[in-house]
Symmetry: C3
Subunit: 257 residues, 3 copies
């Protein structure tokens, strides 16, 4: 019996989250469901993918991840079960899957639906039963027909030259810390002992710290975080508010010749 | 061993929710507790009943539902355990039970209390132990004396004539969608191929959609939702804010002769 | 197998909470984790300690409490496992432990870390594995070296004379109720049938009620709550907002001669 994780934009004031758990537990009351978050902004696939991408591999291989955030622009009602990097996923065919992994899915099926119409609560009626079955070791290919042409959006990469890495803020966390798409590996290849300048908003800085405690309260820290990405914050403060930066703001590292 | 669900207005910043779970798990650490919501507005029985009414039947029969929202107007400190539609409930004698089901309770007892005073945290001291005992198959009639005269508030029904259904918004969900008390069954009986006009706020519309994706982003959709009620929303928008409608706003369907 | 509880300021929109649960469940998927709260204000040790102090004893003895709130002023990266009052705790050496209990820890160890650097996510990398091991009955002294000089902040006590008890608001709960640090026991010793005056903000009152229902809607109640502390609230209202009082506001009881 595998773990089921659950990520959505359903919030905490309605019956939606509980309805999906009830469906899973009605199939097998011994299944274990771990909430990832239900406070993703409505339809925000970028935020949802950032969260799931950075945690799904921490669960045991074989875990089943139920993804209840959908884009309002998803054209057709196609629901998928996928195997990616030894984990199972169920959700919409909305391009999300390209954002959480660069690897091809090992296997993808289009979930069977009981009728032509999917109803108005497919996360409960289609995704929850599929997740319960996968957690109870039903093979993926029993849940539907193979489906190769699933949509895959691509993560925005930083641009790197010998002189410069040009990236963006891809997530503002609960503390107001600003997480960029600039990976430590890119920085290490290009810096090689050179001096550098980091530019974001109105700030210019020329060092990266080992820890947020390396600076005084109220000062700005820059570090490579636990997921290997450049992160900007204010010790004991909200960097997003104090620096006036948000999702998508540019961050540029220039290297001296 | 049955599931215990837990609904309250206790919020997420205090020790209240955990104290109740601790009490249940101290009685039997193997019990499974599923949160419905703890973000019901303080003392809002209408919101609490909407949420619980629409999800309790999704749990397996025999599940125990702990209801920690109380009205500040409840006169006496009477605590009940009830069996309604093959489910168990524990909570106050505050009229709530008439809002979640139109059926009579199969059985109701007034919960025994250890002293005359109920203390200042009865959800922990009285409801939690009762829920734990019911989940462990203690018969309802062992928890207290039969109690017939429990209070029952009645849900507000729409008024229907051959010409018109006149209802109200009974819930605004996390997405700002407006859920009315107009059931699909009433509509089907009265519409019978007639043209109709829907009026809410300043809007007049003359069709009901099959899905919220039937309209463009920013446009208004009207559908019968997964619980069979007329729902009004804005695709990719917050209908409550954009239309200026809230709990209790009227929604009227007029049928052509 | 003991229960693990989890308290943090990580909020509900990131992967942080799930990453720690994933770590624990990867060590042993059968472990049971109970959330206390993840909505503690960032770095607010006073709020975190109020919440944990008032609930940890409700869990079975031997439970393991993971405490993920850190002060931004914590000088060194020292992580502890402690046994206090038959419960286990893991967290930073940030003074927090003096706030939740007046008893000395039975045993304290400094947790072993795999490298000199603690990384940027020690709650996941250091605290989560320690909590999992303790829950699976690994003896505390296998997790690190004894550590006697852990920091202990002290709770602020009210000042009491024969004429007066002078205390403060130490917690504003979700309902806006104001919880003070004035214990019922102090009041009982000093009051002994004397008349008294309670002063807070612009209010003067001369009685303590048995229950919040002893007053009408909109009126102010004062009672000794389920944790034995003087609590001020407004029946069906938000006392913090309506009285203009907050954390740290003074509350004074004067006794007649």
């Amino acid at each position: 019996m595998a773990l089921i994780t659950f990520l959505s934009d359903f919030g905490s004031t309605d019956h939606y989250v509980a309805a999906i758990k009830a469906k899973i537990l009605s199939i097998d009351a011994s299944l274990k469901i771990v909430d990832i978050s239900h406070d993703i902004e409505p339809c925000n696939l970028a935020q949802a993918s950032f969260v799931l991408k950075n945690v799904f591999r921490d669960f045991p291989p074989g875990s089943v991840h139920l993804m209840g955030v959908n884009s309002s622009n998803t054209p057709a009602d196609i629901f998928l079960a996928l195997k990616i990097e030894e984990h199972y996923f169920v959700g919409n065919d909305n391009g999300f899957w390209g954002l959480i992994s660069e690897e091809d899915a090992n296997e993808v099926v289009k979930l069977k639906t009981e009728s032509d119409s999917v109803g108005s609560f497919p996360a409960r009626d289609i995704l929850a039963p599929a997740a319960a079955q996968l957690a109870n070791n039903t093979p993926l290919n029993k849940l539907g027909e193979p489906f190769q042409d699933y949509q895959r959006m691509l993560s925005r990469k930083p641009k790197a030259t010998k002189q410069q890495i040009s990236g963006h803020i891809i997530h503002v966390d609960h503390f107001g810390n600003l997480i960029t798409n600039i990976p430590e590996s890119d920085f290490n290849i290009l810096s090689k002992g050179k001096k550098y300048n980091l530019k974001f908003g109105r700030e210019n800085m020329n060092r990266i710290h080992g820890s947020y405690k390396a600076v005084d309260n109220g000062d700005c820290f820059i570090l490579f975080n636990s997921i290997g990405l450049l992160e900007i914050g204010i010790n004991n403060g909200n960097a997003s508010q104090l620096l006036g930066l948000d999702f998508d703001s540019p961050v540029i590292i220039s290297f001296e010749d």
